[in-house]
Symmetry: D2
Subunit: 333 residues, 4 copies
């Protein structure tokens, strides 16, 4: 009979709560500890799942803990990965590994040395629509993929204070899209071009970032990717992509809360997309955690490794450079 | 603090399993017993939720049991409702109350006398799309409802043996649609016309039933409803309706598993609707059970009462009569 | 080389203008005369096409006229058909042949006796969407047709004065839908049921008619048709139908003026359907006139004969009877 | 009363035929001459409209000719524009003015000096969907435009021989999209980046061109445009764009031949887009010619001037340079 894996969740914020709830649902995972610098948040989340509040040290020292889920703030990821790896724990860590590529690589090295499983939370790969598209692409439905167009927009920009320490739009937002690009088109990236601005959002510019970006990537095989993004879309959270292949096109559309359509005197109206990432990727968050524990249980590989996390980060860094220097950057990623 | 309600589930078949899982998810419900004439099914379901297998008698005799969920075969509903009511249990019962209106009325009487809560499982009212439409209708978005068109089709007919004891298509399938009609248009029904046939499905005709039916209802207020149904739709499970109001139209569409759209050499293709009722109404089943326990917890009314069950059954009976006699039937339901 | 057919158009109103313009476009038709009791209308239309104003007598006496197009008011149709047939002219006549079935039959008899071509303007059969659906149905794409659902709604009711002499909603509006039913499902009709009311439109009731109707037809082969109609749809002109077959479903949707979709803070909005029949069926009107002259030129049969016009009228009459008597009517049409 | 403008059409190929037919439809234009180096083509087109075959010299020497429509091959445009301008004729010319920017500028100078009207055939601005979107954008429906995404794909590549003298994908195909960009976002372009390849189409690479391109443009105001294009889309002709504004999004979708939707065992399928530019832009071609003659008749400005033609050409040239040099190009267009 399969043994249960005892789990600690680092971070009791919005995403930590999601992960903890999904851990609690998994038949072979048992949420044991919740860790957060903000004690009341940890306590509340722990109480909901009959878990205990603990410190990082307690978690890592407890030999009964088989896996940790890192959902704390980005600046804590690298340290927690390295210490958890050293303690022999399997690791699930939210993206990004770190804002600094060197530190991220050190994490990967620590993971390799410890021989532990480390999965990075690129939940979009687990979204039912995106995953179905990928499956059909892999099955050859549209032949060879040639061109990918990604639309990725947030409903509203975060506070300027957040933006200032976010690592910039390419590491903060587009890291997911870079992962989608790698997942869908595959192969080696040889050129990155990024440009952008902050039309109508001077506070974003003042924070040293841009709100609107247009990125173009080219692979060695000659396939192309365009990503358009913005930190503000008045109509909500927009998450679509489409792949042109030699035999057709596959589109992944937004998800709407309901299928109600209203025909009125002015127009025919349907729902806006799901409000934001927690709603849009609800199923994906559950499926990625299930995948992590299934992989641990069956001793199989996880689908989104720390190497994937580093590659996406490298692309984000190249895009940042391209934008800052106003030129296309050649590379080999 | 809210007390937990201990629950017994009658029936460990497909729908019993769904209900039991949803009971287990509810924060204020605890699945204690599973009852089924087929012992292994009961045992398997009980094991999944650390519940016990029990007999009807044990359940009803246990004063710790606050509510029962009846998901066993239709012919057991009336007896279980009456005995559970007599035992003072709150009751959630799958539709229909019974195939016989008189027996159903006796159940309602028993429930009234015992003063217990009794909710009938018209889960469609809890479907997010249908419920959103109803909310917008009630908010006056399209003025007064004037005409309802319901499309309700199963992917494939059940075995002839099932059809023979199903009570016929009107009681077996359309009872849900009659409830939708009552819910959306409201008011007193004054006329029922039903006709149909079994094109291409002689086995349905041989079982004394029809596979395809067209029903028209008129209310005293002058609003109209047309229901078209079939036991076979090669493209899957089709569950749509639309309401014409004085100021516009509200449509409730099917739900698709994914939002992938494929553009190929022949056409542009999207997913078929969700496969069947378990998939299509997954959320609805969870929400109706949540509603039941929320109502018990807060002492509020349930939304789909045994009276709703009886009214839908009466309409099904009138439709059956109309079809059999080949004439429109005047009524007051 | 193909000879040109000289044509007279009776009626210079809205529909007469449409037909005249389409006659003028046809390479083998030449618009020679325009006839209208309202002289200035006739003059204006004639001027636009360098044609002459004439009387009915002049037209029928002119041996150079090969065909007449009757787009004058309904009460003139029968007389013009009979006289034109007697004069040996090919006839294109707007629906309905007449409001009275006996008179319509007399027209058919006159046409038969004269051996002239007579086409009735059921333009919907020429609509590109409807015609494509019909072609795919005939090609067997969805197997045998089993059930037809027709939605047919006008944007707003005509004046009460028009309604009073319109022949009622079944002859005035649904005659087109009865033709669609015959065209799509074919076969002999054995039962007609119609009911309706005038919710929110007392002026329609006062004119002795109903604004909202629900019709059900059954064929000898066991296929079913439901038609829902209303003289008012706040969102515009609604012209859809769908056919369930043994292997799938074919839907014919509305046509929108543009493909603009607006994503805003409240919803995602697309265009309403084309405003009314002149816009919706613009292509159909052109194609039916082209079909008429092509048939005359090539000596082939027209697709919508006077017999089709009479059958649709008979169904409209049966529906009227069903509604008035509150019962399903058995028939053989 | 408005005088009729006598017109000569240069070029009796595919596009010349379209223009000639539309000229013939216009109430104030009269097609007098058809000119083509291939005499039989000219004769056939002329015969259809009771026009005469003529030489360039004859046309330009005839003082009765008020306007010329240039639909001959690209390498003849500049010469015909200059000579027609010198002869005082109003000019409608297919895009591009010329493949060489200097020659195009010389044409603009000749037009200016002669003081004649010269309209360039950017027919997309007259497409009902695109024009409706533009009108709503100008009306402020989505606030300030910030980002434009254009998808522009041909069904299949032209022969390699055509490609070799086409001026390359940017001047041949994307010139339309550069015009859309200027029309929708407006303002001064400060940066152009283009990249591409010919995945799976080595014959295009062999002709010195690319089949797939990704272009990014930035305006001085900070708005962004991404264009993705390919010379091959297995599913047909794909012509879409969408504009993100500060208050919402406006999308212009493809046009489908019919509104038939087929629900089958595998998927729900709708029509592919209109087959190619002649079908997709049929209405646009008619409307642009009507606009040209309306402008001449009323003495108003044409909407797509020779300056627009030159600007689009300059952007195409910058894109070509960017692609060739592998870098973003700064500019002021």
């Amino acid at each position: 009979m399969t043994e249960t894996i005892n789990v600690a969740v680092f971070g009791a914020g919005r995403i930590g709560n999601i992960h903890a709830d999904n851990v609690a649902q998994h038949p072979h995972a048992c949420l044991q500890y919740v860790v957060d610098v903000h004690e009341p948040s940890a306590a509340q989340l722990a109480a909901r799942h009959a878990a205990q509040v603990a410190s990082v040290e307690q978690v890592l020292a407890d030999p009964g803990i088989g896996a940790v889920v890192i959902g704390s703030s980005t600046d804590t990821h690298a340290d927690l990965i390295q210490r958890s790896a050293a303690a022999g724990k399997a690791i699930f860590c939210e993206k990004p590994v770190d804002l600094d590529v060197q530190r991220a690589r050190a994490c990967a090295e620590a993971v390799r040395k410890a021989g532990v499983t480390c999965m990075i939370g690129f939940q979009r790969r687990f979204d039912p629509t995106f995953a179905a598209l990928k499956g059909r692409l892999d099955a050859g439905e549209i032949g060879e993929p040639e061109m990918l167009v990604v639309t990725s927009r947030d409903p509203a920009p975060p506070p300027a204070s957040y933006i200032a320490r976010s690592g910039g739009v390419f590491k903060d937002m587009l890291i997911h899209d870079f992962d989608i690009f790698r997942w869908i088109l595959g192969g080696e990236t040889v050129s990155v071009h990024a440009t952008g601005g902050s039309p109508g959002l001077p506070e974003v510019a003042a924070a040293g970032d841009i709100s609107h970006a247009a990125v173009t990537l080219r692979t060695r095989a000659g396939s192309l990717c365009q990503i358009n993004t913005s930190r503000r879309a008045a109509y909500g959270y927009d998450q679509r992509f489409e792949v042109l292949g030699s035999k057709g096109l596959l589109q992944a559309g937004n998800v709407r809360p309901t299928q109600v359509v209203a025909w009125g005197a002015d127009h025919i109206a349907s729902d806006k997309p799901e409000a934001f990432f927690l709603e849009r990727y609800r199923a994906a968050y559950a499926l990625e955690i299930a995948h992590f524990f299934d992989a641990l249980t069956h001793g199989t590989q996880v689908r989104t490794t720390i190497e994937d996390g580093i590659k996406a980060l490298e692309l984000a860094e190249l895009a940042t450079q391209s934008w800052r220097e106003g030129r296309a950057v050649e590379c080999s990623v």
